[in-house]
Amino acid sequence: MHKAVRISKGRGGWGGPLIIQPTDEKNMIVSVTGGGVDPIAQKIADMTGAVAGDGFTTGIPENRIAAVVIDCGGTARCGVYPRKRIPTVNLMATGPSGPLAKYITEDIYVSGVNAEDIAPADAQETAGIVREAPVPAEARSGAGKSQDAVTRIGKGVGAVVGKFFQAGRDTIEMVIKHILPFMAFVSMIIGIIQGSGLGDVIARTISPAAGSLPGMIVISFICAIPFISPILGPGAVIAQVVGVIVGEQIAKGAIRPSLALPALFAIDAQVGCDFIPVGLSLGEAEPDTISAGVPAVLFSRMITGPIAVIIAYIFSIGLY
């Protein structure tokens, strides 16, 4: 018999409270936290009588999942499971954000969760929890009636204008939620690098090594080492910061401009390594495929990371 628990948002968190009630079929608490079962996932499993599983290294079929525990600071992952209407517990205090923000709602998602936010649920709370995809609100009425030409043209124009307007709205939201915050953060780093003289230190020490083909091959190989690459991945934050530092060195003349191309691949050998099981489940992969796919991608990068740098180096001949 499985018990229900009530999970509330933690300090600075958002959403919830969620009632997690595993059943005989849905009896897995899946931890997608970059390898291993997080203690929070284990605690939820212990309190409910469910089984905790590591969703990073082993694939778990979606129809067995009672809840997912993630640690996502606001990139793609925090929306993936809410989109599938799987109850999602985020250890980071992240609100609705990322490209899938619209799927992150209070009835399916709770964030900033600590161990003390998990409590046994009352009997009345567990009654009547339904987690189905919301029914689309608009029901088509009057379809099939013939419309005159003017009405049809009018509707057609309206639909196109509506699409353009929605595109504009999506774009502005993207700029405000993602691009501007990153520009602010990176501007701060650049200010500190330029103003403190750190840039000169980097130019004298690291750039000579990083600004050569062997140096870049070594960097790509290090980024691709299977236990390092998933850590470097999330949100491409590290790749972006390193990209800015390399750009600064190009501007200073410490690195040749033509080397920009191989550098782009050298600093990005780890791209998406943190996201493999989630990406595969978006592609509706079977659990066995995920189990084989995670090591396959991770090891492949050790080979293809340096190869990418070499190809880019060849293509950089004649650039600038």
Partner: protein, 173 residues
């Protein structure tokens, strides 16, 4: 006293420099970016994502297209991270290789089509800013980044496909 004043000046100077950088980006990068992304978003929503499905399914059968055309179109139309849902159009044993190819294209595409991964622009923009600072044109870099990106994802697809088959066999035995 002088020393303290110098220190304060140095401290605020860090943020003045950062502020100047921020301003140059907001006025130099954002306006074109906003209009471009709006255009492409509208185009994609008018074409409709469903229409790409049949095309992707047909291309998924051939390895040359599976790790080049399909991930590029997926990333262009669906963007990061929904591009990976195109994995459903390829065979089970090819899914990890397809994911590897698609995710490896989420930055090379941003040089020409920033809408595809607008949240992670600075992998490219960070380095590209150095080129701009030297007064050089970005177009050659963006085009080559795209082309090399396609070659690299093809190689990644092939290597990862081999490794996946090997790990799958190991799992059985």
């Amino acid at each position: 006293m002088d020393y303290l004043a110098k220190l304060a000046e140095g401290f605020i100077n860090l943020f003045n420099l950062g502020g100047a950088t921020f301003l140059s980006w907001v006025t130099g990068i954002i306006p074109t970016l906003v209009v471009l992304i709006t255009f492409v978003n509208a185009l994609i929503s008018i074409i409709g994502e469903e229409r790409m499905d049949g095309f992707a399914k047909a291309c998924g059968k051939f390895f040359l297209l599976r790790y080049t055309v399909v991930p590029v179109i997926a990333m262009f139309v669906l963007c990061n991270p929904m591009a990976y849902t195109f994995g459903r159009f390829v065979e089970e044993k090819h899914k990890p290789a397809f994911y590897d190819a698609a995710v490896s294209f989420c930055h090379p595409i941003t040089g020409l089509f920033p809408h595809a991964n607008a949240g992670e622009l600075f992998v490219y923009l960070g380095i590209a800013n150095g080129i701009t600072a030297l007064g050089l044109s970005l177009s050659p870099l963006a085009v080559r980044y795209f082309i090399v990106g396609v070659i690299v994802i093809l190689i990644r697809g092939i290597v990862t496909e081999r490794l996946t088959l090997r790990f799958m066999k190991k799992g059985e035995g």
